[in-house]
Symmetry: C2
Subunit: 449 residues, 2 copies
Amino acid sequence: MLLSRYFLPVLKESPRDATIVSHQYMLRAGMIKQSSAGIYSWLPLGFKVLKRIEQIVHEEQERAGHIAIQMPTIQSAELWRESGRYDDYGEEMLRIKDRHDHDMLFTPTAEELVTDIFRSHVSSYKALPLTLYQIQWKFRDERRPRFGVMRGREFYMKDGYNFDLTKEDAMHAYNRHLVSYLRTYERMGLQAIPMRADSGPIGGDDTHEFLVLAETGESEVFYDSAVTDLTFGDREIDYDDVAQCAGVMEEFTTKYARTDETHDEALFAEVPADRQRTARGIEVGQIFYFGTKYSEAMGATVQGPDGKPTPVHMGSHGIGVSRLLGAIIEASHDDKGIIWPEGVTPFHVGIVNLKQGDDEADAACQALYDQVAALGLEALYDDRDERAGAKFGTMDLIGLPWRITVGPRGLKNGVVELTSRKTGESEEMAPDAAIAKIEDIYRKHGLVK
Amino acid sequence: MLLSRYFLPVLKESPRDATIVSHQYMLRAGMIKQSSAGIYSWLPLGFKVLKRIEQIVHEEQERAGHIAIQMPTIQSAELWRESGRYDDYGEEMLRIKDRHDHDMLFTPTAEELVTDIFRSHVSSYKALPLTLYQIQWKFRDERRPRFGVMRGREFYMKDGYNFDLTKEDAMHAYNRHLVSYLRTYERMGLQAIPMRADSGPIGGDDTHEFLVLAETGESEVFYDSAVTDLTFGDREIDYDDVAQCAGVMEEFTTKYARTDETHDEALFAEVPADRQRTARGIEVGQIFYFGTKYSEAMGATVQGPDGKPTPVHMGSHGIGVSRLLGAIIEASHDDKGIIWPEGVTPFHVGIVNLKQGDDEADAACQALYDQVAALGLEALYDDRDERAGAKFGTMDLIGLPWRITVGPRGLKNGVVELTSRKTGESEEMAPDAAIAKIEDIYRKHGLVK
């Protein structure tokens, strides 16, 4: 993308009402614009990151064998009366009357609707196991929306639902989700720690939240510091292998790690004193097993191997897709701006032309731009007639992980400058060497084939 | 995808309330499920096609230099009061009160919100031309929703908005959209004819609708049969070339083609009698130029080259993404089911194993499946233990354009059968030859690189 043709409305000043750094940088980098309290438009740069995150979530869900569907945002209240949640949900549910005076609502979650799909179409245990998921806009009418996309009212969420014949099968689905979530967050450059949590209005006993440690987190968390040494890495996983998935679950959830909702002082005291940590965390996902809560209330039964109708065991599993942008920025920034992890960066490399209009510099930038495109990657080329300082400032603010700087002086010596946003370190090298390094970096992330 | 692990709830019978063929087949093929009147869940097969269509729309918008954003579904009534449309819009607008009793609405279109984004961030003509677009869920509270996704209440739409300094520039944007829409529909295997239309609640004088001819179309259309001979084909286009885009516009809109809203008997009589046609059409898109209607009402001005504040010239442009599934099926089916055009098919090839459990047949199917995946394409492999008739029936119903049938008898002679869904013709050939032919077909559609 040529910056001269892009729409990147960066702001010099932080809007006053933005109190946390991710909200400030998302506004300043022209990623979002508030349209009403807790409701945002996603401007081009923000939308691009949202799509990168969505894509990773889709890929990891598919890898785990889960199947994508899409449910509507507006649902009838009827199903929610069947489950009993219509009255339970309180003021956070956006309730709507349509022109025929029917009670509708903007879905905050979709256990009821997906259970209705299931019971309408599945009657035999032979169709199990089954996990359906969607990535769709949700609405929760927060009383006091704040922190930008971190606690907005309209938000983008992946929500998945497993249907299994037995509790044992459903616990495998639970473990499978835990594994796929670990992979998902790591691809985004995040460490998200599974912590025992409270199930809230979803219901059920077994639930883990995934938390990213950050000073601005809303939850207080207590953990054994050894959990932060765990990484999933690039190990092979067979999602059908029950023991293997259970092993990962055990590895990642045995050490003490809880939110304040389930914190237990006595258990925490058993953690070696030098490893006891208290911190704040941002919730970026949650998995639940709630058994037959919805299937019994709504008659979602299958004929079991014994021929008898059996209510299915279910769980649900969420990833806060739009909220993740905020969480990633909270975890990865400095005083100049955002530092995008390579897996989610909106553009893979920025190209800064120090002397726009200089034939040689223009041609070198264009050649680099084309070479990046030929790799299947995207460059943002700052082709504006601006001074270098302004160009660097914009690139630092929007946080592209790699920048190539091109100027007449370097070109005389056959070099350009490759700069890491994270370390700030620059290296002079031939343009082809810079491209080779970019290729190498993104090949590691699976973005160059 | 292995069919045994997929969720494809095909129905034997057509539900009674489905009166047109696309609605019937979408239900029978397990693509959608109604959740409330005019509101649907997209089941896995339907969701896959929806995503294919969305992807084509994105690619063609980007090619035309338009920039993707995403606006929220829930908007404040305030902006709609500024433009005067809050009261104009009538009962089709879904009006909502949030917990603080603020007037909100589910967006049926986004001229106001995008104009607000523009006026907040753009102040100089130097940022023009600019076209922002989104693909997002919309809601229109139809009094009598019908025809499945063709006239639903919640629907998926691409809506784009151009901002230009002069009417002349805005007309170039109009032409650029016309060209990009022609390309878009042709990639989906559709002929969509631009017809002079009425602007309705959007406003403005210049507007064309794109119509797909089909008996079940809601609009009566009148045209010179010569328009159906026009195709855009694979000609090169430079979207910055004003004259070239204007030439395409002229070529495609000079011959008589109008909906009943703007039909002119006297003009129609001038068409040679043997070329006068009356038919029915399905609207799949519309482009508008409405000048300064919104920019004046909402103060969206830029500083012009002369230093004076100038209201921008605007247009908006829509493609009915979810409706297109219905339109494509109306235009492409037979009495056995859907016939997907290659550009949008959910799976690129179906693999039918005539003797599941036979080692040789199973191995041959798996090898074909892997080879299809290696091309970057997706196969649906019917690995169920079902009789051949049922497997063929499902494949015909869901409409994959190519089917490979594998059986022990053929394998003895080293052949499988490649069948075209469209012509019904089958050809025996070696498995490698079948894969080579599949590769060749999809390479033409740009789906094999």
